[in-house]
């Protein structure tokens, strides 16, 4: 029963989305306040209905209602509760429902928190958001209905893929979707601005916090996914340039570029055309990603052709939304007045260069991901575009970004002076060089790692030069510093931390060059050295989990004879799907990790082990956390400012007159 109400709620949500697609736009064109006022409550109701539908599906999973196809295919009564709940988005239908849930969540958030926004702008934004919602709810109802029943319910389900039965599934997809789908709101802002023709600093000011929210979530989501892959897939890799990963990296690159150029647009009213274009592009790339992941086109062009309903439907959505917005863009862009002028060497100039490089990176990933598909479709020839291609093209494009990052931070608006900036960065640059020299002399190792480590140190220090100068410049007391710190806008701290975070990640990536790996068969009691540590494989312990059985290899890690950690890498067997999965044993020692995965446990207790020492590897993900922290600092500042504008207006009119 609850399932049918969920299905019905989704149909109602479609009806509301259609209402909200038309009335608010009509209202803004006819300047009818009543029609525009329809948008916020309908957006909230729409969110309520989608949330209910989602809740209904979750309940069906929680109580193991095997009369639902979706539950039969992806659940099992013995599965732990957390994976019954998170398993809802571990399959195609459920994850599309989560997609729509996040979409309507953002619409509801705009309805609630953007009261200070001009009314017609808000109406148009919510209308565009409803167009997207309507398209995707229709997609779910017509091609991917999660509420479909089976005629004869089986007694047991097929269980969820064991690789997905992991805490990572609880965190990664929701965060990724908050980012990925959150970019829809920047798209809606851009489309609304194009419809109303008002493209100015107000647009940039309101779109910035939303872009930032999406960017923070996307940063965390990608990092979380990378760590999950790292510890689940058992060979210690963390980024594979897989098309599915690229599908999330492209919107991240576009969103990063967008964040930077909305700053220019807000402060200086320049780069308007480009900002609007980028806002459209970022969400278009999310749509492309959804198409790549959800249509089955990645597995093979032929499998896509044999069951094209879903793929063609998303492709249609893609063409309508990207094509429509670009047509609107072409129509309006010509009439835009260009704003503030600037010299090539200036903050604006640096941000233009930042955007050029980020966009080229993004386009490179795009071409690399889609080229094999296009080539196969056109000529039938199959090629592979793998990590070597991206390492050779993407990395050289990204290195200049690292070098330029601290420079851009120090350049003033309008016109800057490179010699002065170089002088201020000399210390950070020197520190980077000295770090390189010390590493080369003391550790040796691959040249790439040494150079990148130096660059990372320069980026981390350079990110704080501007802040340091503003806080400590000119011999001051502790009191004055804290006073200055309070006086500085929080986004200045945000920028510094976000940039430094990228440097921290780079340091972690560079350090992979000093890692060690051993592949060996281990007998019980056998010891092996890895990096600075000694591992002793004690014994194999059989155990039973809630829905699996496992063989865990009890292993001690010693440093100079003292036990510093115990790990238990395991191989698990899930009887429901008759599948094996290896569970890596990871000990975090300082910022490095000892990583062991085992396979093929023989009768006498001998295992085949893959053992890694990964120095500083934790920095890769810590860097992402620092980036997100910087984003949050900026966000607290931006939302604060929007709030102040509202309160200031209220303060101006202390005695509100009764209307009419």
């Amino acid at each position: 029963m609850i399932v049918e109400t969920g299905h019905y709620a989704l149909v109602l949500a479609l009806a509301l989305a259609l209402v909200n697609s038309v009335l608010p736009v009509w209202g803004s064109v006819a300047r009818d306040q009543r029609l525009m006022a329809v948008a916020p409550p309908v957006a909230l109701m729409g969110f309520g209905l989608v949330a209910y539908a989602y809740f209904a599906l979750t309940m069906a999973h929680v109580v193991s209602d095997f009369s639902l196809v979706n539950v039969v295919e992806n659940s099992h009564s013995a599965k732990p509760l957390i994976y019954k709940i998170t398993g809802v988005w571990g399959n195609h239908e459920g994850s599309m429902l989560l997609w729509v849930l996040v979409l309507s969540l953002f619409a509801a958030a705009v309805a609630l928190f953007s009261r200070s926004m001009p009314e017609d702008m808000r109406a148009n934004v919510l209308a565009v958001q409803s167009w997207i919602a309507a398209a995707f709810i229709l997609f779910i109802l017509l091609t991917s209905n999660p509420f479909a029943r089976v005629a004869e319910a089986p007694a047991e389900g097929n269980d969820l893929n064991p690789l997905l039965q992991d805490p990572g599934l609880a965190i990664h997809p929701p965060l990724l979707y908050l980012g990925y789908v959150g970019l829809s709101i920047t798209y809606s802002f851009a489309a609304a601005a194009l419809i109303s023709g008002r493209i100015d600093a107000v647009f940039a000011r309101f779109v910035r916090p939303w872009t930032l929210i999406a960017w923070i979530s996307l940063t965390l989501g990608i990092a979380m996914g990378s760590y999950w892959a790292y510890y689940t897939l058992g060979w210690g890799g963390f980024w594979f340039w897989d098309p599915v990963e690229n599908a999330s990296l492209m919107p991240w690159l576009a969103a990063t570029a967008l964040l930077h150029c909305t700053a220019v647009m807000e402060k200086r009213e320049a780069l308007k055309i480009w900002t609007i274009f980028l806002a459209i592009l970022a969400f278009s790339l999310s749509l492309v990603g959804t198409f790549l992941v959800r249509s089955g086109v990645l597995t093979s062009v032929h499998s896509f052709a044999s069951d094209p309903t879903r793929g063609v439907f998303i492709l249609l959505i893609l063409v309508i939304f990207i094509g429509g917005s670009l047509a609107l863009f072409a129509l309006r862009a010509g009439g835009l007045q260009q704003g503030g002028l600037f010299a090539p060497v200036s903050r604006e100039g640096a941000l233009v260069l930042n955007n050029l490089l980020l966009t080229t990176c993004c386009a490179t990933v795009f071409v690399g991901t889609l080229y094999p598909l296009a080539l196969e479709a056109i000529s039938g020839e199959k090629i592979s575009v793998g990590p070597p291609f991206f390492n050779l093209t993407f990395v050289p494009l990204f290195i200049p970004l690292f070098i330029l990052m601290p420079v851009g931070q120090l350049l003033p608006w309008k016109r800057g002076d490179l010699a002065g900036v170089a002088q201020r960065l000399a210390a950070a640059f020197g520190a980077g060089l000295i770090f390189m020299a010390i590493l080369a002399a003391w550790r040796g190792g691959p040249a790439v790692s040494v150079i990148l480590s130096g660059v990372a140190v320069y980026v981390i220090l350079g990110s704080f030069v501007d802040l340091g100068r503003r806080l400590f410049g000119g011999g001051v007391t502790a009191d004055m510093v804290s006073q200055r710190a309070r006086g500085l806008p929080r986004h200045a701290f945000g920028t510094a931390f976000a940039h430094a975070g990228l440097g921290v990640t780079l340091l972690g990536l560079a350090a992979t060059g000093w890692g060690a790996e051993k592949i060996t068969a281990l007998k019980p009691g056998e010891a092996v050295e890895i990096g600075p540590y000694e591992l002793t494989f004690e014994s194999v312990v059989p155990r039973n989990g809630p829905n699996y059985s496992e063989l865990a290899g009890h292993t001690l890690i010693r440093s100079k004879g003292v036990v510093v950690a115990t790990i238990e890498p395991a191989t698990r067997f899930y009887p429901a799907r008759r599948m094996n999965r290896s569970e890596a044993g990871i000990a975090t020692l300082g910022l490095g990790q000892v990583y062991v995965s085992i396979a093929d446990v023989a009768a006498n207790g001998t295992v085949n082990a893959r053992i890694f020492w990964k120095p500083l590897v934790a920095l890769i993900w810590i860097g992402a956390l620092v980036m997100a922290f910087g984003g949050c600092l900026s966000l607290s500042d931006l939302s604060f400012r929007v709030g102040i504008a509202r309160r200031a207006r209220k303060a101006q009119a202390p005695h509100p007159q009764p209307a009419e």
Binding site: V293, Q338, T360, F389
Partner: protein
């Protein structure tokens, strides 16, 4: 991202429910220099039945066969290029994770540079147009005369 990756892995695991993991101890060559070459080479070769995995990472049986094959050729004294050429003859360009530069792929390899050049070109043209539209920086003769007159008035 991992959801789809897992799906791809699943079909492999279903084919071989008790498949072994990636490189196995018994595959490793005794000569560490040859082994290092084997690892570097396998990281650049695609496991043909997987979704974007190299044979070095893959759990599939085919990947194991190819790893062993690569090591046999190395032992026989083949160069890296000879081994790659041998595998391409057998499986086509699909096996190379680093696509070769040829007629069908020049656009792929050229894309980053072309896009960077095009982007740079657009920025250059946009700037030229913008600066030519910008108001002249210095005052015209008439304006200067008017300004002087105003200043004189002020001064007196």
């Amino acid at each position: 991202m991992i959801v789809a990756r897992a799906a791809a892995l699943t079909c492999l695991l279903l084919l071989a429910p008790l498949a072994a993991s990636a490189v196995q101890p018994d595959e490793i060559m005794t000569d560490p220099r040859l082994e290092a070459r084997a690892r570097a080479l396998s990281a650049q070769l695609r496991c043909m039945v997987c979704q974007n995995e190299s044979i070095d990472e893959s759990h599939a049986d085919l990947a194991r066969d190819l790893r062993v094959l690569v090591r046999e050729r190395l032992q026989a004294g083949d160069s890296d290029d000879q081994i790659r050429a041998f595998l391409v003859r057998r499986y086509g360009d699909f096996i190379l994770l680093k696509p070769p530069f040829k007629l069908e792929t020049w656009l792929l390899w050229g894309a980053p540079f072309l896009i960077l050049l095009a982007g740079g070109g657009i920025i250059f043209v946009a700037r030229r147009r913008q600066t030519s539209l910008a108001p002249a920086k210095s005052l015209s003769e008439a304006e200067r005369a008017k300004l002087d007159a105003m200043l004189d008035e002020e001064g007196s």
